[in-house]
Subunit: 380 residues, 2 copies
Amino acid sequence: MKLKILKSYLNESIQHVSKAISSRTTIPILSGIKLDASPNGLTLTASDTDISIQSFIPAETDGKQIIQLSEKGSIVLPAKFFVEIIRKLPAEDVEIEVRPPFQATLRSGTSEIQMVGLDPEEYPHLPKVEERKVISIASDLLKTMIRQTSFAVSTSETTPILTGVLWTLTNNELKLVSCDRHRLAQRETPMETVGEQQFGNIVISGKTLNELNKILPDQNTLVDIVVSDNQVLFKLDNLLFYSRILDGTYPDTSKLIPQNFQTELVLNTKQLVDSIDRAYLLSREDKTNIVKLVMQDQGSVEISSSSTELGKVTETIPVSRVSGDLLRISFNSKYMLDALKVIDSEQIHLGFTGSMSPIIIQPEGDTKILQLILPYRTTN
Amino acid sequence: MKLKILKSYLNESIQHVSKAISSRTTIPILSGIKLDASPNGLTLTASDTDISIQSFIPAETDGKQIIQLSEKGSIVLPAKFFVEIIRKLPAEDVEIEVRPPFQATLRSGTSEIQMVGLDPEEYPHLPKVEERKVISIASDLLKTMIRQTSFAVSTSETTPILTGVLWTLTNNELKLVSCDRHRLAQRETPMETVGEQQFGNIVISGKTLNELNKILPDQNTLVDIVVSDNQVLFKLDNLLFYSRILDGTYPDTSKLIPQNFQTELVLNTKQLVDSIDRAYLLSREDKTNIVKLVMQDQGSVEISSSSTELGKVTETIPVSRVSGDLLRISFNSKYMLDALKVIDSEQIHLGFTGSMSPIIIQPEGDTKILQLILPYRTTN
């Protein structure tokens, strides 16, 4: 294998695939990035068995030559050192030459780097994904949906299925749900599908989705999502992102969500976030995160927290709209802030069915996003 | 005590004094910030016994009213919470009211914060510093001198005196020196003094100087440095920074510095830094940081590192000027990079007196800065 390539293209591809490299892998070959050079271009592959990422750099794009190939071939190079050294090479291009058995030499400007590679034949094959169920979604929308749900997955490995986000497609609606027993995050979007496709119980690790989100472009370009029995494949231009589907059955969370509210509040989102943030500062010092919301007669809401050692924070904010019974309720302010931060809406709608029942947080006039947090049972 | 103050001024002062707050203090009152309100303004004080910082906010500045005082008085408030909550208050001003015994109430916009304070009478007095030895130096120059030396202090507490930077004033020259047994950093500057002042063996903790550097403005404003028996006081506009002087006698480092060189090299600084940086990447993987410099006949220098597991990095860079014997020498690349990073000069001068003797690093044509690192003894 021998080629010369523009460093910036190689670097971008490496940054993408290196998201799949785990620092704690027990399989030596997976600590490397696989390179396959062909007349069409250079393919980079990295995997930690849960995630596999493949990036393709075309030999030519828009009439610009990216790669000059002298000899095709393959090699696996140690990922960590390869990632760092490519970024710091002095010239705009780099020559990569592999000599038997797996000895790679990189040349760029005044630098020459010899790297001990590994046998590409030993590199595991990528999962085979049948393209039967395929949906297309705008990258920026997908990114937002993941951001609005993945933060609420469970971090405890005692129930592995809850460390993932549930993906469901029914009735031309794509729905993402995550739940960690204390809170739930849900986001839906209409989805035009061919021949009324549907799937359920597709659960993808929250960590994996966070890695995917780092790669997804912030633009309105289409991402194809291919769902098979045990793998989901996200297809972008020149990039394939494979994720394992988590084993197990995701619990039915629909019963957790109240259908009617006894009390409803509409508030300015920023005012609410800032007030809870200040109350959180104090509650955090006591390691409880408990913040209290008390509705007052005069159409305002009091947000407060107290600490025997430090003191008390009291915030009074006006209500834009209110209906139903007066209420006092306590909750985990960190969870409330997490939920409010992913809602991009000027006004927020809070729905309650009593001080011991779940709190429902939604953008005013929009039911596609739903955040739920359980209240604390406190003595006063 | 009762006053109303513009939040931005209070916040800036708090940010300054909070640099003296230690999270591990065993003296409860020192986990607080002391506030003293008088008709002239508000004084904030914080201390961890090694460092004490005092900031004064005038009641009025440039005809603008900063503080409206209703009642003078003092209080000590819990630093961590106070720092965070002030930054996040909703309105542009904040009212602070203290009621007996030490109950503080902060009001800002829709927020009311009650804070349990401490008795200001229990707060330790600031050190008394006699203003006998005073020098004045531009803030930006002082900042640079600290940056060029403080990184090389020892981090080991076995020889506490080496964790500090030595300050000497003789013959109208101010000199800062730090040394950790493997490297030495030295910076001098001419200093006009009244009546030929001088001092020696003034050693200030490197950590303290790093905190001072965060506060010093990047401008050409004058800082007064007052040296007493066991304290140094840095005086800025409305800010006093007290530092303890470390106990003990600083070793004589002048003998370490060779007076003549057998070999001298002048190189482009950026080329040298980038080359060593790449060689460092590999040497770091082997946890040795060993990089080799080999002078070649043709007026170039080879920088290299190798790792049995990963491979080899070889860099060839041109020499701007060379004199003396050909040389091969090995050194700690991390130390070399630290030294090169604080020298702002296009060309760098390296001086050698053999492969087992200290390497001297200086900006080309400038002897005010001197960086020294000891070479490694390697087998080849």
